[in-house]
Symmetry: none
Subunit: 400 residues, 2 copies
């Protein structure tokens, strides 16, 4: 749906919407049993909820396309991920909870090792300790360049984030990492005329980093990749006329929520604490994005049994979510992470919508196979948000 | 589907298509029983037809979007309602069976009350009697303005329709209703340069109405809203190469059919008379749009039992429709009107297609829940028309 149209139809109400995102929710049958993680787990609460909900499968990007966490969540938030790409530099910044400002250009940085002639001998500087990374980033933070403010933030081991901040900077810049050893880092090139100023600033940063790092042992040079400008995305609270809050223990998901303009609430790291956070703020917001990470971690590890346990852990807490009394509740995920793949997958993700007006279907188990026959059908992830809005009686009629 | 492509593929045949639109067909379970209106009603004929039909759910505008009657029917007629918006002024004119001509600009008019200084004291003139409205419209009908012919038609109580008729008039005009008391009506402004002439005509109409109404008691002034030009819509009989007739007892639906170029047949007000009208004209047309209103009325009243009765009333007459012997029969609706909502809803609407070539599915009951698992899936309403065309063997092969 066109976001402008949704904005035109969005109307105020006192109803509450909760979206539970189980990261990497969808799975695949384990060959030994022929049953997926959802089909193996004991999920009495989730199945009972599915029985009184409208069910379906969400596809986040396109058929056969495996979504990253960025596109996966943008889809859940109502955006077409193909129309709103989020680059790697920006994602890296979001992943450390860095507060990007509109117009910021971010890049992923690596400390690397160069020889006496400046040729790369290790693209990751022997994966230096994070402590050292932090110290070196403090050094680089002192660099000043023409036409942009410089921010350098450590990530982990040899990785850091570089942010160029200033008016009208373009992120259409080439990378300095030649992806090869025995050659020197490349210069940054502007990939469009408007990016000349940012290219100059980035090249000055690299040149001024060189002497500062000369005696820093294996981490004596930097490589920059994935330059990207923070995308101009229509703000979620404005588009849907919702006071929106995100509750997520992991920085990446807080960052994605912040990117679309949600308030990010301080929360403890467990799912129980996340739910308690929502309970405390129940009156202050119309929409809550509630993130559950454990399912994805287990799937990425290829640990089928852990993923089953993670699903059961969610199920045990589901009554607490229901007890909040949301008028419209969505349960789905940002992508599949089948344990037998041990990675994100392209498989569509089970989804349910529960409300007084959702209209049930014949689905009584919240599994990949059962949801495929649900009333919601196979739907683009970005359709979930207008459906939640409608179920919360927050969309006016189109046409007379 | 692209209408130009459908037009290219449309080919003549002697087959007959009937589309039954049960207004507001879809519903929701009543909490006490967990069964929807369709699941509660005794519908032996409809269920038997569903068992030998291809079934599915129609979505008329988009996920979560509640269609008005205009977009709902345009979808059933094969048009994308988002590409062919029908404005409020035009719908108001259609609703009184007014024969709009191409290029007509229509507005909703209200008689209102103004004080000695011309400030509005009642935006609806105390809801004057319809008889008085008719008399006052006769007065206003005498007004002449520059560059447009004026038509004024009474609707009901304080409401009337104003039509500006002339070459090249634009309907992009601001409203005169300030939506507030204690202030005078606003002037009409052109919202695009091409609308200047229409704005002048509308303002002259208002100024010339003032002295005519001076002594008309509470109805001593007019307010104009929802200006709109009759949309340029590809004509249905041309697009689909069908001689098309509409049979509808309610003026709004006759108007919508006329808008797309169907012939509107005179009919008695009952459904039995509507069917008899089709029988009389069976040889004269290839396509019949048959409208059944009772389902929507009951749903809008929030009267679950009445809606059940209305569905059963349709079911009793269904054999008469089948006895006509259509080669392709579609049964669906323009939107849901769940009794528990007492209003139009966004929920997709059950649909079936019956023909010698429809290919049945596992669905044997014509309900929201059962149709969700049908062979047609969840499909945009505008896809129904090409499917009916194909089932009537009226679409040629695409490509060699």
């Amino acid at each position: 749906m066109d976001l402008d149209l949704l904005h035109d139809l969005a109307q105020p109400n006192t109803t509450k919407i909760v979206l539970c995102s189980l990261d990497g929710l969808g799975g695949l049958p384990r060959p030994a049993t022929g049953k997926s993680e959802l089909e193996t787990a004991r999920l009495p609460n989730l199945h009972a909820l599915a029985a009184r909900s409208a069910c379906g499968l969400l596809r986040h990007v396109g058929p056969g396309i495996t979504p990253g966490s960025g596109p996966g969540h943008l889809g859940l938030f109502g955006y077409d991920p193909l129309r709103h790409p989020v680059g790697r530099g920006v994602l890296e910044a979001l992943g450390i909870d860095f507060h990007l400002k509109p117009g910021d250009v971010a890049a992923r940085g690596n400390f690397c090792t160069v020889d006496g002639e400046g040729r790369i001998t290790d693209r990751r500087a022997g994966r230096i300790a994070t402590d050292l990374c932090i110290k070196l980033c403090e050094k680089l933070q002192r660099i000043t360049v023409d036409g942009a403010e410089i921010v350098v933030e450590p990530v982990k081991e040899h990785r850091f984030v570089l942010v160029l901040r200033g008016e009208g900077l373009s992120g259409r810049l080439s990378e300095t990492d030649p992806q090869a050893l025995g050659v020197p880092p490349l210069g940054v090139r502007a990939l469009e005329p408007a990016a000349e100023r940012a290219a100059t600033a980035a090249n000055q940063f690299v040149e001024r980093a060189r002497p500062l790092l000369r005696d820093a042992g294996p981490a004596n040079m930097v490589l920059l990749r994935g330059f990207d400008r923070q995308p101009d995305i229509p703000l979620f609270p404005v588009t849907f006329r919702l006071r929106a809050a995100a509750v997520a223990a992991y920085p990446m998901y807080r960052g994605l929520a912040r990117l679309v303009g949600m308030d990010v609430l301080d929360t403890g790291p467990t799912f129980a604490e996340e739910i308690a956070t929502i309970r405390r703020h129940w009156r202050d917001y119309d929409y809550f994005f509630l993130h559950y990470k454990d399912t994805d971690k287990a799937g990425e590890d290829g640990d089928f049994d852990s993923k089953v346990a993670a699903l059961e852990g969610f199920d045990e807490r589901l009554p607490d979510v229901l007890a909040l009394g949301p008028d419209a509740l969505g349960v789905s995920g940002d992508h599949s992470t089948p344990s037998i793949l041990a990675a994100h997958g392209w498989q569509p993700v089970p989804a349910l919508i529960s409300s007084a007006y959702c209209g049930a279907d014949h689905v009584s188990r919240f599994t990949e196979r059962d949801c495929a026959a649900g009333a919601l059908g196979l739907l683009p992830a970005q359709d979930l948000m207008p459906l939640l809005m409608a179920n919360a009686l927050r969309l006016a009629k189109y046409g007379a």
